[in-house]
């Protein structure tokens, strides 16, 4: 028997939560970006599972997943550019030390 929709959704929730935990607790900006990528991968699993089980003929979830991948690639490129620019100025990417916008 094939795995059902619920199994995929639980897997997606677990991967999303691991990414969320890392994004909250890590101090290195690069690792925070990696954890956001993991969260997006979890969301993609949920979208594709909905597409496979609820609208198998229309493929709506898969087309949304394509847009998620596009936006994730753009986000990584700009995020890493910001991190490298920050490293040039401050010589650190520790988010506890970059507190310019913190009150």
């Amino acid at each position: 028997m094939a795995p059902g929709l619920e199994q995929y959704l639980v897997l997606s929730a677990v991967i999303f939560s691991i990414g969320l935990f890392g994004a909250i607790t890590k101090r290195s900006a690069v690792v925070i970006l990696i954890c956001i990528e993991i969260m997006l991968a979890g969301v993609n699993i949920a979208l594709v599972a909905f597409s496979r089980f609820i609208t198998p003929a229309e493929l709506t979830g898969q087309s949304f997943s394509v847009f998620v991948i596009v936006v994730a690639a753009a986000e990584v490129a700009v995020g890493l550019a910001i991190i490298l620019a920050l490293y040039r100025q401050r010589h650190t990417i520790d988010t506890d030390k970059i507190d310019l916008l913190k009150w």
Binding site: I18, F21, A57, D94
Partner: protein
């Protein structure tokens, strides 16, 4: 039965790799575990008969995003400093636990209208019709191209040496 075994192997790999990214203190190994997580996700897409997305995941995320992240780790010399955690460990653990439990309860309590129709295979031509066809997401595709152009220009401007 084969699909079930593949699902369990791939999902255990994906969850273990994602947990490894959070546990690992060596940044370079964390980036390699991210690659493992992406590959397992691509395998899960295959079990959901999403062949085009699995290929796109391997090409874009494993091929481009992971290489970009590894290059930026090398450029910022963060490998020597490792990947320390802040003081939010215990509250974050409870928060994410509650989020996961809420999602799982919501998934279990909902009666999903699962369709008995077999999935479209291969998906690439059907997906192309949805994305590029007359009533599809053509405008959004153009906006995606514009977004990528803006991303390239933004990254160049951010990293330009100021004279």
């Amino acid at each position: 039965m084969g699909l079930q075994i593949a699902f369990w192997i791939l999902s255990i790999t994906a969850v273990a790799a994602a947990a490894g990214v959070v546990w690992q203190t060596n940044l370079f190994r964390a980036a390699l575990l991210l690659v493992a997580c992406f590959l397992a996700t691509a395998g899960i897409f295959v079990t959901l008969s999403a062949d085009f997305l699995a290929a796109a995941q391997v090409i874009i995320n494993v091929g481009a995003v992971a290489v970009l992240i590894i290059m930026s780790i090398m450029l910022t010399r963060e490998v020597t400093r490792g990947s320390p955690s802040n003081r939010l460990g215990i509250p974050a653990f409870w928060l994410t636990g509650i989020v996961t439990a809420a999602i799982i309860v919501a998934v279990a309590k909902t009666s999903w209208p699962v369709s008995p129709v077999p999935p479209a295979e291969p998906t690439s031509s059907a997906l192309a019709l949805i994305l590029m066809g007359g009533n599809g997401f053509e405008l959004v595709i153009h906006m995606g191209a514009l977004l990528l152009l803006a991303t390239i220009i933004g990254a160049i401007v951010l990293l330009k040496e100021s004279k």
